[in-house]
Subunit: 158 residues, 6 copies
């Protein structure tokens, strides 16, 4: 029942994780949004409200729901049960900082969920503020920390 | 790597269930739809067929598929594997009664799946009959029973 | 190329709207959630915050996103572009009132979007408060008003 | 709390798998697409590129993502975690052959995921080539092999 | 702002339809499922009911909902509003025949919706009957007819 | 039928676009991924193939499909028909550059689709290469250009 493989080396394929151990896996990712002074001035120390509604609240909910869609968005990602998804948000000068921590009990890491959660939150942040500043830039989207897999990872300059 | 939290108390976040035990969890929810006499008269004791097709059949399939979308619809809901999703439907006078029972083997309860299943079934029921009666009202959407978690729940007047 | 139809009368089928006129269509639907005193007491006149986050904010965003998923949830619903989706929320005694108004420029009505938006918002409200009161009941889910189609509709006792 | 069941025998319901054992389950399905000479001539032994892009690559990614959507597409399918999803593709004369193998560690079989993966890949293949040949036919969509459940299955003429 | 394109010829890209005319477009596709005698014997001239529920009803609803997901499943498909989606089903000897007709008012053809609708209906049919016959084969998935675009299409041997 | 609005100012709501004109709207967004030398060395001038498959191809398809999911991911985004979605990719030293151009004929701008397309493509790129370099950083996610709305936009330093 074997086929003469066509372009075996070029083909996309999900990694087989069936033999991997089930462990508690945690990943934290970050995204940053650089805003202009008009946007930064709206911030009252807790959240801020654009014409479309509360900015951070909307970003956090969008990011949480986005993290749950990770395996539907990233072609070769395994579907994973999310035990937890939490966000921390802050303003550092003219930068909104968004951190997303995801936890699963599963066979493979959860860094794509954390990165997708942070990215979708940043995109929702952009959407809420774009009337005030279309030139916002999302940057610093990266993995901060990952534990529970074969090897841990910690970003060098958090 | 800690942030000065912005609005910690106000932030939405999924509950962390990673430390909870895996148990078989069952929940039953109900929704009712009050209809006019024209709709009630269509009912033949088994199902009834509106111009758009069989009403209860469509409601049951919509509810089953809706229950599977619960964690995509409810922002802070955990994705859960559904071991089973069953519906009971009946007509009591001018009320269609829809009951949805969901079962999972997981770390957290499945009442939102049962409530979402019953609600989506009721909405599909409305959609199938709305040409006959746009004034239908969905009511009595509630949890009837829940077992398998830290504490069981049973509605007082089922 | 015609088939001997099997069970023509029983078959579900989307209504053909290709010949209908494109008009601006608006629909408003309502859902109510009856809560216990513990939940009602949390309300500060604007929103209230459960352990999981801000209740009305989460409900409004869930409802907005749910309204956009209407045609994916209701089997025979036509996909419609949403020009607008707005929520009004209030507390009347021990009842949370959720109203959802949807607008489209299209060939068919948008009442299912408004009803789905209100229902999903009510389900998210339940999810945010269920630790305080699992006995909450969603009721009064109904169409309040619909304009722009062949015939307008207005509920008798709004 | 029991209802007089309406049309018990007719009602759709997911099978209850809560009592079934968790095992590693594997299924392989196949789909074939018959193409005209113009399409077949494009093939270079590895892949071929239509005006819309690389055909097999697109089919494989579409099939992988489609396999992950199986429980959202097939009404009574249980949601299952996918441990792996791999495709083999080949050209046999004027037939494109697409094989999809899915693996899960779960309570129920994964043949619908393999069949859905193969079908969606074949549909994407059609979409990529339809400008060259709208008369392509998808056929031979079937289960080749299934292991890990109560009883194994192997197609007679693979 | 131009980039040195990397692999321009190999890249997948949606066709640009912005300059195309809006017309009423109709497409009909067919899928067939070959079943064993046990399955064929269940059929009562209208529908038949497997242990999981009514087979054709479930297939028709799954196919309708699947047709609405076409642009989410097929990578380079344009999202299209569906004005209508109808199924005809029949049994011809040991073959279940499923026909899906989709209609849109838009800038590009709707054959992928009709093909996806027919395919998903056939997959749901398989799922409903697989306990009785795992060897069923889906075949003859093809476009029967297409009108409303630049050029019409009609299959040679319908 | 008016409610005493609870927290009117704080509430999230989609902007009402029903009165806006239908025009052809185009937006281009960019995302960049900084990679280590191991990843950069894989690049052959056209694409490169990681253990999981072809990197740019997978990123482009993921981004195209992600762009189509924009209104499902971003809470207050309007659903828009996509007339076109195209990607340009390149390597500039140790940076992968991803540009996404979206086109619609509609009532509101399409910049969120372009930004979401570029972001999801960058996330998929990360997923394909993360075994080689978990420290990759996504940055420079921004709108390059937007035309067709009330006012055009062009980034200062493209």
């Amino acid at each position: 029942m074997s086929l003469t493989h066509v372009n075996e080396q070029n083909q996309a394929a999900m990694v087989d994780v069936s033999a991997k151990e089930i462990t508690v896996r945690i990943a934290t990712a970050e995204a940053r949004v650089t805003v202009n002074e008009t946007v930064a001035a709206q911030f009252d120390g807790r959240d801020f409200v654009s014409k479309k509604g509360p900015v951070f609240q909307t970003a956090i909910l969008a990011g949480t729901m986005g993290a749950k869609q990770t395996s539907a968005l990233i072609p070769l990602c395994h579907p994973l049960p999310l035990d937890s998804c939490k966000f921390e948000v802050a303003f550092e000068g003219r930068e909104a900082v968004i951190r997303c921590t995801c936890k699963t009990t599963g066979k493979t890491g959860i860094e794509m969920e954390a990165l997708t959660g942070a990215s979708v939150a940043a995109l929702a942040f952009y959407d809420m503020c774009k009337a005030l500043d279309p030139a916002m830039v999302i940057h610093g989207v990266r993995l901060l920390e990952k534990t529970g897999g074969k090897s841990d990872y910690r970003a060098e300059s958090p």
